[in-house]
Symmetry: D2
Subunit: 313 residues, 4 copies
């Protein structure tokens, strides 16, 4: 049975929340909050867990803490669902280090955006992927996050990556649906290659038109909403999916939109999790948690949305 859980379905389908990293301070995990958060998310019926991504503030964390997180999460999930671990780094060597740690801890796959300091060309990216996959102990998902990494895996590079052993899917957080549809078209003869949508605001349409799932930040907060939306869209129920989609947009327009910085998504999400008693809202530098004025706004938005403290926590 354990062996089954360890075999990653191809394609991988469903909702894979990019887990926030509960922190007590810049180098300490909120261990109790982490446990509550994992159980809260799994109780929503999600299909896996993605840690150490952008929503997980991975680049802001020390390697020591990243390693601790990988171990604690894998230990608690106990293969109930696959765990995907972000290994994006500007240093090839450090990416491999985290991947090995993930494999040792029992994770099922790793996820990688382009190195994000130097902007690499597409040919360079492809060579980098070939070198990297040769060193990786786990299957790899590519991850487009051009806003933060300055690079995207262009369609021609994705086509070439299909032939690189060990690359099994792609998560697109570009928000560029024209690009996404072109990828879908490109992948039509490779049904085993997983295509996941990043921004939750685009989940409904991505599933309608053929994507395999989503990596929805809001699924930290209300996992069942995204799971329900996923199932409605899979069964082509435009009416129900549209209604759940509008709820998602409402969360996005309120909880993620307080304050004027780009980080409002992350601050709003952690604040909301704190408001409903799941985990601490501490953010690693360069960010900081919402002060009380913003927290009051978040609390009001949660009330209007009917998002409340879960019974068990």
């Amino acid at each position: 049975m354990e062996s089954d859980a360890n075999i990653l379905p191809r394609p991988l389908r469903g909702i894979f929340p990019p887990m926030v990293t509960p922190l007590l301070d810049r180098d300490s995990l909120d261990v109790a909050g982490l446990e509550r958060l994992i159980e809260h998310i799994l109780a929503g019926g999600v299909h896996g867990l993605f840690i150490l991504g952008t929503t997980g503030e991975a680049p802001s964390l020390s390697y020591r803490l990243r390693f601790e997180l990988v171990e604690r999460v894998c230990a608690q999930v106990k293969r109930r669902v696959p765990v995907l671990v972000g290994i994006t780094d500007t240093s090839f060597v450090e990416s491999v280090n985290i991947a090995r740690k993930a494999s040792d801890a029992g994770a099922q796959a790793v996820v990688l955006a382009p190195p994000y300091y130097f902007p690499a060309g597409q040919a360079e990216l492809l060579e980098y992927l070939k070198h990297l996959t040769a060193e990786l102990p786990l299957p790899l998902f590519l991850y487009n996050m051009p806003r933060y990494t300055k690079a995207i895996f262009e369609p021609e590079s994705v086509r070439a990556a299909l032939d690189v052993s060990g690359i099994v899917g792609l998560k697109d957080s570009s928000g560029d649906m024209v690009y996404f549809h072109r990828l879908q078209s490109l992948l039509k003869d490779r049904p085993d290659f997983t295509l996941l949508m990043g921004p939750e605001e685009l989940l409904a349409e991505a599933i309608f038109l053929g994507a395999h799932g989503g990596v929805c930040g809001g699924a930290n907060l209300v996992p069942q909403l995204y799971v329900d939306l996923y199932h409605a869209a899979c069964s082509r129920d435009v009416s129900v999916a549209g209604s759940l989609h509008r709820k998602v947009i409402q969360i996005s327009s309120t909880v993620y939109s307080v304050g004027r910085y780009e980080s409002s998504f992350l601050k709003g999400l952690k604040c909301a999790l704190s408001c409903i008693g799941i985990c601490s809202d501490f953010l690693a530098e360069p960010f900081h948690r919402f002060r009380s004025a913003e927290r009051d706004i978040i609390r009001r938005h949660l009330d209007e949305l009917g998002i409340t403290r879960p019974r068990q926590s």
Copy 2:
């Protein structure tokens, strides 16, 4: 009956092709091609015609030619469908001049993107809209085209524009579906305010989730495809709509993607129209028509897509 045609439905629903401007040279219309193009488009069952937009190369044309085009199009359409005229300009005075010409010629509405030389702030844009609508003889659609105009009507500005008399809708060519969904959410209490999708690659999902129609460049070439997709999406037939959507993506990935410049969309579309005998493929500076190598590629794409010379032309 004619009077009916002149009353613009609110909201305006359906497919409104952004017509290319057939040219013999930089300051001469291809008059015969223009007539064939209009009849070809209308035969596809579209719900209106949008002239002098980006696809129409409006900014590259002399004012004399723009005026001639407005008159010829209105004269030929003869109110069979509404004609919308682009009045985007860096000069307020010239925008008003075109709007008056459009009204005199019998057009039903005008369409305006932000002035595109100086990047204006949102408060400045809103004041500009208030000054401008006071001078306009026709209802106004806002037009987001941030790639070319450096500015977008941000959600808060759209909310404020709802109270400006004369503004009846918005066409969004940003390609940013998260933005689009936020607009849809914002407009949920104003069902009379028209929301149209620009990029045809996003038409299916826009309609599924509540948009009123699309301004699809490909409807110059194969208008019925977009009309059929519109109807399938309106009736929530995910299967048929998905199939037509994939055809749209195939056109986008082939006909619009020859060559390395951003202008490949425009060059490919005009080249394709020339290949099937509709109109000349001349482009105004700073562009030029495809040379024979690219033209051969376009022809091959059209063959594969089954897009052929219409019988009547």
Copy 3:
């Protein structure tokens, strides 16, 4: 003598203020202000006048008004200095129209930035220049203004443009000094090709290292400051030039930096000209003049800078 004035020196050396366009409203020149402004500028010892550039709000003006301005300026300058006329436009035909008007009115040269709606590729730009110069009655200066036009004449394109008949110089407003130095290096065997610096903050160093002059917006306000700086830098007096340069930076950090929009340069400059009694501060849409709060700040900055109403106006 008149014939001498009409022959443009090659290279053209000195200070060429990009004249603001005094307006009473969006389509009316402030004729009296225009006369005062021209005399104020010429009294400062400048070497020419550049009208209908970015500082002149050319794209925001109707063609009727642009034509009127060309005629009035040429009539008043009476060949005391060369007049350069901006013909930048998205429409090739309209650029030629303004150039002909400029020639008829007695201007000495025209100035052109790339067409600014569609982003053209370098090969397209070069072809465009070849077509255009064939139609122009006056010598042409290229004009880099990438912030507003989305395109720059890249070094290889400038090298190719050296062989296009009629192109006699380039004004660079990119603010990119590395690019500028590469151009200087490229042009070292063409001492007849004029290279002018746009941003006045970079005038001193441009002249130290070989540029021929500057197109300084601040020379509308205090023309002699820029003329003096030009002469000090030409004579390699680092100490005097440095001192005048610091005055220029002080103007830039105060008069041009009120408010949060990019247009603060233009608003501040027109406001300052109004404060010292030269001309109206009306701005064409999409901008508007400073309200009284900002005007008070400008007035205070002018006091601190010792910029006062000139005696004769």
Copy 4:
């Protein structure tokens, strides 16, 4: 005497080469090459050494290798000149770790650009600096590198940073001379605060107009050229400085400009160092060394520039 070397002059004046990191493979230093490189640079008369910056590929290196490099460099320099160590990182904790290592090894200062994954706001950056300096054992130089870090220390933030204990200077690699001049103006009452120019193409003018020195990548290759240019500019010899400046531009237009990627600077510099026998040209992922075609071009450029193998190496 040793104690003198350890006290950092304020301001710090001169040429501080951003040292490339000689590598044998992605996780091994080229130890012999490193020794030759350090002696080659110091023989040119430079005033200090900056390691683990952008030119040093710091973000691409493992922490293990970064630590090894810090120790080896400090051990070899033996306080002959100050060593500045880059501590830029997306993780606050890791920045502090490197700073402590630098202090232990005997370095004199640390250098920090904004964290480069998440784009932080200015208020967040300032708070980050306050938290960070409290943990740092060495004085801190700020480092603007907006192309790679997405953020700049805006003038108002620099003004505020003047009051943060431990911040002693700023290196600006923005290439934006208007910004740089505004900083100079801002700092006129703080002559102890060091202002250094990044791009070597702007060194001459920066020194003419008051900067304290430069961080010139080319000083890895021909250190004396930059030292001579620095001295000529300090003594306001426009003629000699101009002539050396033109040599710098020639290097920039040739050695740094082979190939189409942004990384051509780094690849060209390492290739040139290899051609003249200083050190290996291996680059860490995502880059790779020039292949033989590009290497031949670099060799030809070096010949034309008269840059040859130094006698002692």
